[in-house]
Amino acid sequence: MSSAKLARLAAEVVTLVLFVAFLFPFFLVLINSAKTAFEVTQFPLVMPSDWSNIAKNVATIWTSDNIRYPASLYSSFIITVVSLAAISLLSSQAAWALVRTKSKTSNIIFFVFVAAMVIPFQIVMFPLLSWLRAITDLTGIRLLRSYAGMILCYVGFGVSLSLFMYHGFIKSIPVELEEAATIDGCSRAEIFYRIIFPILTPIHATVLVLNGIWIWNDYLLPLLVLGKGNAIQTIPLAVSNFAGAFVKQWDLILTAILLAMVPVIICFLLAQKYIVKGMVAGSIK
């Protein structure tokens, strides 16, 4: 065999081994979700004796009052979808306003949004809680332990990066397009919603993917804003509460984990192309 062929074969083998190693932890979750409590602790590395256990474990998790999986799935879904809709609409219109208004104010506002990307969540998290409580005391609008507060936070934390990406794209859209529409009698607002917003589709995709993965998987922010033992809890909160309450009951914890991963994997398989593209585009900006 020539050395080139040998190198090629080595590459094939190494990649395959790495691929198996990367997916092995997920495989462990799957096989151990189909075991009894005894089997999980004694034989975590063997195939389950009876695959039908998986249905039993899933049913236990689905109906458990400790994890409240269906309710958590619903809450995660509401929070993610509404936040994403708000982030993409509000930051694209703001970006457009900033690009199309050339003034000092506009430049300063843009700079502040971009500079804020360096701010880590840790420095704002404690005051955020006391300040949201203060707003509630003042206005009566409930922000802690509520959907409204959770979504407000995601818009606030998500706007910087999203606005930045829309800003970059809108700069490349020729103004002539908008001038033509003005002559045809479109108002400023109409121009944005009718003409610009649809053109932004590729950036919408990136913004939705980046923020969607972040919001769906986020743990610390919901932990602080929604709190523990709340009627509204997201999937990561539910899993962590459950794992905390059922220490070492790995048959059930792993089933909970499996159920938590399923929605993400389904979304990924459906929109794989956009997700990979969106995440790479978001990183390079």
Binding site: A94, L98, V239
Partner: protein, 306 residues
């Protein structure tokens, strides 16, 4: 309405929602946070009730606390190791899946998948792997029987538990960084490689002379991303080790794998020292800001040289 007035009205109307959310969620808490770090702020007191200025006291007691010093040290250690491992693994994976191996599209997806699942859940999966699957391997294979002993559990010892965090961190992030490298490698014009091959360049020479310099822009991005991501690690830390096992440091019992983000959280909520936790968060922010600035400027210079 005149055109100018309409424009300015639309400008402020369009900006208002994000300005409100951004101000409420980031700007005000940020300045409050910096201010609170110089006070005796506690969670029991109302926000502005009996708040006293205490100068640098929170900062001084933070730096005197062995737990904070230890956290700082292991966070730097973890960040450096994580950056090196993630980028090495990610670049190797990118080279492999941009070569002519079969099933490369499927491989890419497989390597990327851990990145889609939240760090919290990944940490639990690996806790099971280290605490249950690894000892079980010891029971199955006589050669590894030492793994069955409780004192040899990977998460039971400080150093190996930090390495466990690095393994999970690399596994979590390498696929994402790989995608960035793939984009960079595929952007290299094919003609360059063809010309070099005609000149008789070996694959290694082409890697050094073509692929690496052409990917310089990507390195700025990936180094920055992995640095910041590793330094901020919280979710995996919580679910994999919860900061444990405990250990002694400077004569005080502390948590051995408590990274900075977790230390800040625990200072405020477990030790009930909110103002001190806030001071640590300010330090955390400053370090992050400085490191980021330095790194970006270094990488910019490098690109110019190439």
């Amino acid at each position: 309405m005149s055109m100018k007035r309409e424009n300015s009205l639309v400008f402020w109307l369009f900006l208002a929602p994000v300005l409100v959310a951004f101000t409420v969620v980031i700007v005000i808490p940020f300045f409050l946070g910096v201010a609170y770090s110089f006070t005796n702020w506690t969670s029991s007191a109302k926000a502005d009730n009996a708040l006293q200025f205490v100068g640098l006291q929170n900062y001084l007691s933070s730096f005197k606390d062995p737990a904070f010093a230890h956290s700082f040290g292991i966070t730097i250690f973890y960040t450096v190791l994580n950056m090196v491992f993630i980028n090495l693994v990610a670049f190797s994976l990118a080279l492999l899946v941009t070569s002519k191996v079969r099933l490369r599209k499927i491989y890419r997806v497989g390597f990327f998948v851990p990145n889609l699942i939240g760090g919290l859940i990944l940490g639990y999966i690996w806790q099971f792997l280290f605490n249950n699957a690894v000892p079980a391997l010891g029971r199955l294979v006589p050669l590894f029987s030492f793994l069955t002993q409780a004192e040899n559990l990977i998460l039971a010892k400080n150093t190996s538990a930090i390495m466990a965090l690095v393994i999970v961190g690399t596994w979590q992030y390498a696929g994402y960084i790989m995608m960035i490298y793939i984009a960079a490698i595929e952007n290299v014009p094919v003609e360059l490689h063809e010309a070099a091959m005609i000149d008789g360049a070996s694959p290694l020479q082409r890697l050094k002379a073509i692929t690496l310099p052409m990917a310089a822009q990507a390195f700025t991005v990936t180094m920055f991303l992995t640095l910041v991501q590793s330094f901020k690690q919280f979710d995996v830390n919580v679910s994999l080790t919860s900061g444990g096992p405990s250990t002694m440091f400077q004569g005080k019992p502390i948590l051995g794998t408590e990274l900075l983000a977790l230390n800040i959280y625990n200072t405020a909520f477990l030790s009930n020292k909110l103002a001190e936790g806030q001071a640590r968060a300010v330090v955390f922010f400053l370090v992050l800001a400085i490191i980021s600035l330095i790194q970006v400027s270094i990488n910019k210079k490098k690109e110019l040289e190439l």
